[in-house]
């Protein structure tokens, strides 16, 4: 069972003691048993995508599959992309919305955090910590709390945002409930949710960028300055290239978490108005636990899983090649 020789040479003739073997077994066996549940759940989730399944119906003897929970093969996937049923249309809407959400969040997040981190990094150190702390506060706030806060800020009557708009002479907007309002082809409700999400999330990337900026040697920037580079040149020619691995890391992490957005959307709009903010995890949740279409829901989560895995694999590839030099 154990590689005695290797241990022996390491312990200088002590060998693997009985006590050590007991310890290894008594830790690994419960761990393996516990993880088997996880593997089982994963396989089960995979099997479910081929069935029409609802736990309420009487099914076959094995995991309640078969019987009134029939095997449908790849029909769910065919339906998703070509079907005309309500759930198929909702799926396609949620897929597009999720991609829009993730993309807009990514672009805006980087456009805010990278310059802001550079600014914070360039101020005196006693202010630096203060700024960093304040900017980090939203990250600590429970996402449901964030959603409640912003729902109140967006309130058409009593909200602060419309109050400011009115004071400036504008007309109030029903930010979260007007299905016709849009801005550059993206519905206003979606943008409103994106802004709340950005507010809650940008402190995280900010902290990562600050940490990365601190690891860049001062001498490099000073040398560039002496050679006559202006601050913008130093930023674009020295800082950005050296930050590249961090930027890629941040991109991928931001994408991954925004593909899985749920809390903020569910509380603020619950997918409305008119499905304009319906995202994939909300679709998964609704189908599984509101409409009891668990087979369908498992198939939707499988699509989400594929997207997440593709992004993760790209991340690993890219990060590996970049960290080598």
């Amino acid at each position: 069972m154990f590689k005695r020789n290797r241990v022996k040479s390491k312990n200088k003739g002590g060998g693997l003691r009985v006590g050590q073997r007991h310890f290894i077994l008594s830790v690994t066996i419960p761990m393996i048993l516990y993880e088997v549940i996880g593997i089982f759940a994963l396989l089960w989730a995979f099997i479910l995508i081929f069935f029409k399944y609802s736990p309420g119906r009487a099914g076959g003897p094995i995991l309640g599959l078969g019987g009134s929970n029939p095997f449908v093969g790849l029909q769910h996937f065919q339906n998703m992309f070509t079907g005309a049923s309500l759930e198929a249309r909702q799926f396609r809407i949620s897929l597009v919305n999720t991609l829009i959400f993730a993309f807009v969040v990514l672009v805006l997040n980087l456009a805010i955090t990278l310059p802001l981190a550079t600014l914070i990094e360039s101020v005196k150190s006693r202010y630096k910590d203060l700024f960093r702390m304040i900017y980090f506060l939203p990250v600590l706030t429970a996402s449901v709390g964030v959603a409640e806060m912003w729902t109140y800020l967006y309130d058409p009557q009593a909200g602060l945002i419309n109050a400011i708009l009115r004071a400036l002479g504008g007309t109030p907007v029903a930010w979260l409930s007007d299905p016709r309002a849009e801005f550059f082809g993206i519905s206003v409700s979606m943008l409103a949710v994106i802004i709340a999400y950005l507010w809650a999330d940008y402190g995280y990337n900010l902290v990562i960028f600050i940490a990365a900026l601190q690891s860049i040697p001062r001498e490099l920037k000073e040398a560039a300055m002496i050679d006559g580079a202006n601050p913008w040149q130093t930023f674009s020619k020295i800082t950005i290239p050296l930050l590249q691995p961090t930027i890629l890391f941040v991109c991928v992490m931001t994408m991954l978490s925004s593909f899985q957005v749920f809390d903020v959307v569910q509380v603020m709009t619950d997918g409305g108005p008119n499905h304009q903010t319906r995202v994939m995890v909300l679709d998964i949740y609704d189908n599984a636990f509101r409409f009891q279409r668990m087979g369908w829901s498992a198939a939707v989560s499988f699509v989400l899983f594929i997207i997440v895995m593709v992004v993760t694999v790209i991340q690993m590839r890219v990060l590996r090649t970049d960290w080598e030099y």
Partner: protein, 292 residues
């Protein structure tokens, strides 16, 4: 030649100084503007939580409360059937329980993977990390059915049974324990300590900093969790704080002041935690690539 070069650097230096003042002004202007954007939502709900039921729905809204009142806090803290304290209890139970199991399993498995050699170790470790990299929504449905089969639906235990291990925690503590010298463990062995005693008496006391980081991150994640608790818990009195927050909102839709007060009370413990553990939290977030 050299003197000339020196002079031109000097000139450049002085020129830069001259327009740095405008730059500095702009820099602080942007940073303070950002601080305002970041703090304004907090300030707005803090002020809102002290407004009376009539004032808070006034159009246009007031900024400062005209007659500050504690009624909103009283309403949720003294609710005869559902006092907020009960939900603090629920959330604390789930978060503390999960933190303790996670710290225990992460340190034990980290120790095992860092300091022992046995066949299949790398496969086990790789498999372990892979399994835990998979997003939770994927196994949500089977997990839900398992809970319903074993009768743990609508129970706080349902929120802890699948959370006993944490890939990031194992990975982080493995890295840390690998840096501890083997001589330390061998010395304890010579003194007759069993492997469990080595784990408990030698390794664990050296893990203060990484355990604090991991514990705080894990606590936050559990305290703020929303989707899974919403799936598992159905009866009102067993809910955790984030879910009861949305419930307060649906009950008192006409009085956002109550939701504001509840939001503040839910967020406050995490903020206290942050001020105590600031360094560890920031470090942990930077290392983990995990988000709350």
């Amino acid at each position: 030649m050299a003197a000339q070069a020196h002079k031109s650097i000097n000139a450049k230096y002085h020129r830069r100084r001259a327009h740095i003042t405008i730059g500095t002004f702009l820099k602080y202007f942007i940073l303070i503007f950002g601080v305002l954007i970041t703090l304004l939502p907090f300030i707005w709900i803090i002020l809102g939580s002290f407004k009376s039921a009539a004032e808070i729905i006034q159009v246009p809204p007031t900024f400062w409360p005209e007659n500050p009142t504690l009624n909103n806090y009283r309403t949720i803290l003294n609710d005869p059937k559902l006092p907020l304290l009960r939900f603090y209890g629920n959330s604390t139970f789930v978060a503390v329980f999960n933190v303790i199991t996670t710290l225990f399993t992460s340190s034990l498995l980290g120790f095992l993977f860092a300091k022992y050699k046995f066949r299949g170790k790398n496969i086990l470790f790789g498999w372990f990390l892979l399994l835990l990299m998979i997003p939770g929504q994927i196994t949500m449905i089977p997990d839900y059915i398992i809970l319903s089969e074993v009768g743990l639906l609508n129970s706080l235990w349902g929120l802890v049974v699948f959370s006993a291990t944490d890939a990031f925690g194992v990975f982080m503590l493995k890295q840390f324990i690998e840096s501890l010298p083997n001589e330390l463990l061998d010395a304890a062995r010579i003194d007759g300590a069993s492997e469990w005693q080595i784990y408990w008496r030698v390794v664990l006391p050296l893990l203060g900093a990484p355990l604090a980081t991991l514990g705080v991150l894990n606590f936050m994640g559990n305290w703020n969790a929303y989707l899974w608790p919403m799936v598992v818990i159905t009866s009102i009195e067993k809910r955790t704080l984030p879910i009861i927050l949305t419930w307060y909102n649906s009950q008192h839709g006409s009085n956002p002041g109550i939701t504001n007060a509840a939001t503040i009370l839910v967020v406050l413990p995490i903020l206290f935690l942050f001020f105590y553990f600031q360094r560890w939290i920031v470090r942990g977030f930077t290392m983990s690539g995990l988000k709350g």
